[in-house]
C-alpha cells in the first residue's frame, strides 16, 4: 500500500498527490512514470512522476480527472492508500548541456515538464519555458516554473492570462527573432505536441515529445502502447516515452487513444462529466 501523505487541488479537476514510495523515490529520474492501481478491482493507469524527494521517500503525481480511475482518485483523501504503484518506468530524459532549451507544457503537461526543465537548468542550460492552458484558472505550476526558468511565457486560449493563443505562438516568435534554440521539449495534448513538431521541423531544431498512449503493464509485455516512430512500431513504455517529435506518427497515436472512448464513456461518466473526451 502506498499512502497519500498530502493532497491539494491545483485547478478545476487537477489534483496533486504526494505519495509515500521510497523505493521509487530513490531511483526515479525526470521523464519517468509509474503505473498505479487504486484497489483490487482497479485498472492500471500510467502517471508521470512530477517531482520526487529522495530523503523523504516520496513522489509527487499531478492528475487530471478525465474518466473513471482519475475521478475515483480525485475522491481519495490525505491518509488514504493506493494499492499498487509500480515504477519507475520508461527511460529517463536525456539531461545534458544543450545551450538554449525551450520547455513547453500544455495543460496538465506542465506537470511532467517541470522536473525535466529543472534538471536541464541544473545541467547549465538557458531555460526558456512556455506554459499554456485554455484559460487562467486551468493554468498550473506557474510559480514552480518561474523559479527554475530563465524566461517564462504564459499563453491562454482565451487571453485571460499572458499571451492569447497557443503555446506555439511564443515559440514562433523566438524562431522569428532568430534566437538560437538548441533543444525543444514539449509535453501536452497530442495536437499541441504535433503543433510544436510542425513549427520546429523546417528549422531542424531537435525536438522531443513525451507520448501518452494507452498502456496496461508498462513493462513491454502487451504491445498496447505501440506507436509508429519513423514508420517502425516502438513500445512507448520501454522504448520511450520520449521520442524525436519529427518522427512520430501523431495521427496514429490519436486514433489509438480513442480505442475505448465509447466503452469508457458508456461505462463511467454517462456524458455528464467535464471530461474533454466526448
Amino acid at each position: 500500500m502506498y499512502k497519500i501523505l498530502e493532497k491539494k487541488q491545483l485547478s478545476d479537476g487537477v489534483h496533486q498527490y504526494k505519495i509515500e514510495a521510497d523505493l521509487i523515490a530513490n531511483k526515479c529520474q525526470p521523464g519517468q512514470f509509474v503505473i498505479i492501481r487504486l484497489d483490487e478491482e482497479g485498472e492500471r493507469i500510467p502517471l508521470t512522476i512530477a517531482d520526487f524527494d529522495r530523503d523523504a521517500g516520496t513522489i509527487t503525481l499531478i492528475v487530471q480527472q478525465v474518466g473513471n480511475t482519475t475521478k475515483r482518485m480525485a475522491e481519495m483523501l490525505q491518509g488514504d492508500s493506493i494499492l499498487d504503484v509500480a515504477g519507475p518506468l520508461g527511460n529517463p530524459s536525456d539531461i545534458k548541456f544543450y545551450g538554449t532549451v525551450v520547455c513547453i507544457g500544455g495543460g496538465i503537461g506542465v506537470a511532467p515538464v517541470y522536473p525535466i526543465a529543472r534538471a536541464l537548468k541544473q545541467a547549465g542550460n538557458y531555460v526558456v519555458s512556455i506554459i499554456g492552458a485554455r484559460n487562467a484558472d486551468l493554468l498550473i505550476m506557474e510559480q514552480e516554473m518561474t523559479d527554475i526558468s530563465d524566461e517564462l511565457y504564459v499563453t491562454t486560449d482565451d487571453g485571460s492570462k499572458g499571451v492569447k493563443g497557443i503555446v506555439t505562438v511564443p515559440l514562433h516568435n523566438m524562431i522569428g527573432s532568430k534566437r538560437e534554440i538548441n533543444y525543444v521539449m514539449a509535453i501536452g495534448p497530442v495536437v499541441m505536441m504535433r503543433g510544436v513538431a510542425e513549427v520546429t521541423r523546417p528549422y531542424n531544431i531537435h525536438t522531443v515529445v513525451s507520448l501518452n498512449p494507452i498502456m496496461v503493464d508498462g513493462t513491454g509485455m502487451c504491445g498496447g502502447c505501440r506507436v509508429k516512430i519513423a514508420n517502425e512500431n516502438k513500445f512507448a513504455c520501454v522504448d520511450g516515452p520520449e521520442f524525436d517529435a519529427h518522427k512520430v506518427d501523431f495521427e496514429g497515436l490519436m486514433i489509438r487513444q480513442r480505442m475505448y472512448q465509447d466503452q469508457e464513456r458508456g461505462q463511467q461518466c454517462g456524458g455528464n462529466c467535464k471530461c474533454q473526451n466526448h
Binding site: 519507475p88 496496461v216 513493462t219 513491454g220 502487451c222 505501440r226 506507436v227
Partner: protein, 469 residues
C-alpha cells in the same frame, strides 16, 4: 468403457462453456481416477518417465491412486513437481509422458495428466500432511539469501526448492500479481486463478517473500541486489514477454491486439467480468493469427466475450499446429473456424481507424525447411478478404530486453535470450537463469525443469562460496 481407451473426463458441453469463463474440464472423481490408474501396466522400465522433463515417478504415483492412497500419490509427485495442479491441466502430455506410454502403441495411453490433476485437486480439497512437513524444514537457520526475478513457473520452482533447503528467498515481480503467464496469459476456463494463487500461497507458507510491483532493471538492478542488498545469488526467470508483430500494413488500427494484451486485459485485469474497470474491445468477427496455445486461448476468450465468428488463421497445415491437442479439439468443438494454409498480408481499416477486414493469401506446402516442417509457399492470385472487426496477433513472444540492458556482464544470444549452460549458470558470477528467457517461448514444465536445475546450481554456488570465505 473399453480398456483400450482413456476414461473420459467430464466437461462442460461446448454450447454451455462458450458462454462462460468457468473451467471447461471438470476432473475425475475418485472411482474414475482409480479405474484409470488400473490401466497402468506398472512397467519395470517405464518409458513415460523419459518423457517427463522433471522425471516424476509416474508409475509410483499412479499405483498409489489405484490403491486409493491419494495423499501418498501427491507426496510422490511433489518430490519432483511443485505445481502438479497446474501441470496436470496445461502440460502437452501427448508430446511428453503419454507419448511414451506403452499402451499408446496400440491403444490410448494412460491419462497421466488427468491423474496428476486428480491427485493435486484431491490434496487441495483435503488439507494434506505433505505441506506441513515441508514447512518444518524451513524452521532451521537460514543458509543464504537469494533473489528470484519473475514469478512464472521457473521462478516459483527455484523459490520453492531453495526455501525447502533453508534459504531466504525473495521473488521480485513486475506486475501486481504473482504467477507469470499462469496469471496473465492462460485463461480462467483452462487454469482457474484460485489454483494458481493456492500454489503461490504454499510458497508463502514456506517463508518465501513475494515483492510485487518490482521491476528489476528499474526499481533495482541485479548489481544492486548482489552488491548492496546482500543477496548471495540471483535467478532470472523473466519469461518471453515481448509480443511479436507481423510487420504487415494496418497493424495499428483499433481492434488489432497482440494476444498478450488481449489476454492480459481479460485474465489479469478481469475485463471479462461485467463491472470491470479495465476495458476490452469485444469483436464480433475475430481473426486470430497463429495456432499455438496462445492463439487457441485468444480465440476461445473472444468467443466467450460474445464474438459470433472466430477464425484461426495459420499459414501451415493441421499437423504443424503447435497447440496442445486438447486445446485444438476444444476450440473446434466450441465453434472456432480454422483457416489453415492461409497467410495474412494486410489488415484493412476504415477512415476512423478501425479494423474492417483481413486480407489473406492461400498457401501450399513446399519443400521441408530446416525445422523439418514443409515450408508453406504462396499460391499466386489467391488473395481474399476475411471480413472481421478484430484481429489478434499470436505469433510468438521474444525476450524483454530490460534486464539485458541494465546488467553489465550478462551474455545473451542474437535473439536476446540469456546464455546459460545446462545447469542454468550465466556468464555473470552469482547470476543464474532459466525458463522462457533462456529457451524462448516453451512450456510450463520445461520452465520448471530449468528452475529445478538452477536451484541446484545456486545451492552449490553459495555453499562453495561460503566454504572459501
Amino acid at each position: 468403457m473399453p480398456k483400450s481407451l482413456k476414461h473420459k473426463m467430464p466437461e462442460q458441453t461446448p454450447q454451455d462453456r462458450r458462454n462462460n469463463f468457468n473451467e471447461v474440464a471438470l476432473g475425475y472423481d475418485e472411482t474414475t481416477a482409480r479405474a484409470e490408474a488400473d490401466r497402468c501396466l506398472q512397467c519395470a522400465n517405464p518409458f513415460c518417465r523419459q518423457g517427463c522433463p522433471v522425471n516424476v515417478n509416474i508409475p509410483a504415483f499412479i499405483k498409489h491412486i489405484k490403491n486409493g492412497d491419494f495423499e501418498e500419490a501427491i507426496s510422490e509427485i511433489k518430490t519432483k513437481n511443485s505445481l502438479p495442479a497446474v501441470c496436470g491441466r496445461v502440460c502437452p502430455q501427448e508430446n511428453q509422458c503419454e507419448k511414451f506410454c506403452i499402451l499408446g502403441k496400440k491403444n490410448e495411453p494412460v491419462a497421466i495428466g488427468r491423474l496428476e490433476r486428480f491427485a493435486a485437486d484431491y490434496a487441495r480439497g483435503n488439507k494434506k500432511k505433505s505441506e506441513s512437513s515441508a514447512q518444518d524444514k524451513t524452521m532451521g537457520e537460514q543458509i543464504g539469501k537469494v533473489a528470484v526475478i519473475g514469478s512464472g513457473p521457473a521462478g516459483l520452482t527455484v523459490a520453492g526448492d531453495l526455501a525447502l533447503l533453508g534459504y531466504k528467498v525473495t521473488v521480485f515481480e513486475a506486475l501486481h500479481a504473482a504467477g507469470g503467464v499462469l496469471m496473465y496469459g492462460i485463461p480462467e476456463f483452462r487454469l482457474p486463478k484460485d489454483i494458481v494463487q493456492h500454489e503461490i500461497n504454499e510458497l508463502r507458507n514456506l517463508g518465501v517473500d513475494i515483492a510485487v510491483n518490482s521491476i528489476i532493471g528499474r526499481t533495482f538492478t541485479i548489481d544492486e541486489l548482489l552488491n548492496e542488498q546482500g543477496y548471495d545469488a540471483v535467478f532470472i526467470g523473466t519469461g518471453a514477454g515481448l509480443p511479436n508483430f507481423l510487420n504487415i500494413p494496418g497493424e495499428n488500427y483499433n481492434g488489432v491486439y497482440a494476444a498478450n494484451e488481449f489476454l492480459t486485459r481479460s485474465n489479469l485485469m478481469q475485463a471479462y467480468k461485467k463491472n470491470a474497470t479495465t476495458p476490452i474491445y469485444k469483436g464480433d468477427k475475430v481473426a486470430v493469427i497463429g495456432a499455438g496455445n496462445v492463439a487457441m486461448d485468444a480465440a476461445r476468450t473472444a468467443l466467450r466475450l460474445g464474438a459470433s465468428n472466430v477464425y484461426i488463421v495459420y499459414r501451415r497445415s493441421e499437423q504443424e499446429m503447435p497447440a496442445r491437442a486438447e486445446e485444438i479439439h476444444h476450440a473446434r468443438e466450441e465453434g472456432v473456424e480454422f483457416k489453415l494454409l492461409t497467410n495474412p498480408v494486410r489488415i484493412l481499416g476504415n477512415e476512423k481507424g478501425w479494423v474492417e477486414g483481413l486480407e489473406c493469401v492461400k498457401m501450399e506446402l513446399g519443400e521441408a525447411d530446416l525445422s523439418g516442417r514443409r515450408k508453406p509457399v504462396e499460391v499466386k492470385n489467391s488473395n481474399f478478404v476475411l471480413e472481421v472487426d478484430s484481429v489478434i496477433i499470436a505469433i510468438g513472444q521474444g525476450p524483454n530486453p530490460l534486464i539485458q540492458y541494465t546488467t553489465p556482464g550478462l551474455e545473451v544470444n542474437k535473439h536476446g535470450n540469456i546464455n546459460t549452460d545446462e545447469q542454468g549458470i550465466t556468464s555473470k558470477p552469482g547470476v543464474f537463469a532459466g525458463g522462457d528467457i533462456v529457451t524462448g517461448a516453451a512450456t510450463v514444465i520445461s520452465a520448471m525443469g530449468a528452475g529445478r536445475k538452477a536451484a541446484e546450481s545456486i545451492h552449490k554456488y553459495i555453499q562453495d562460496k561460503k566454504k572459501i570465505d
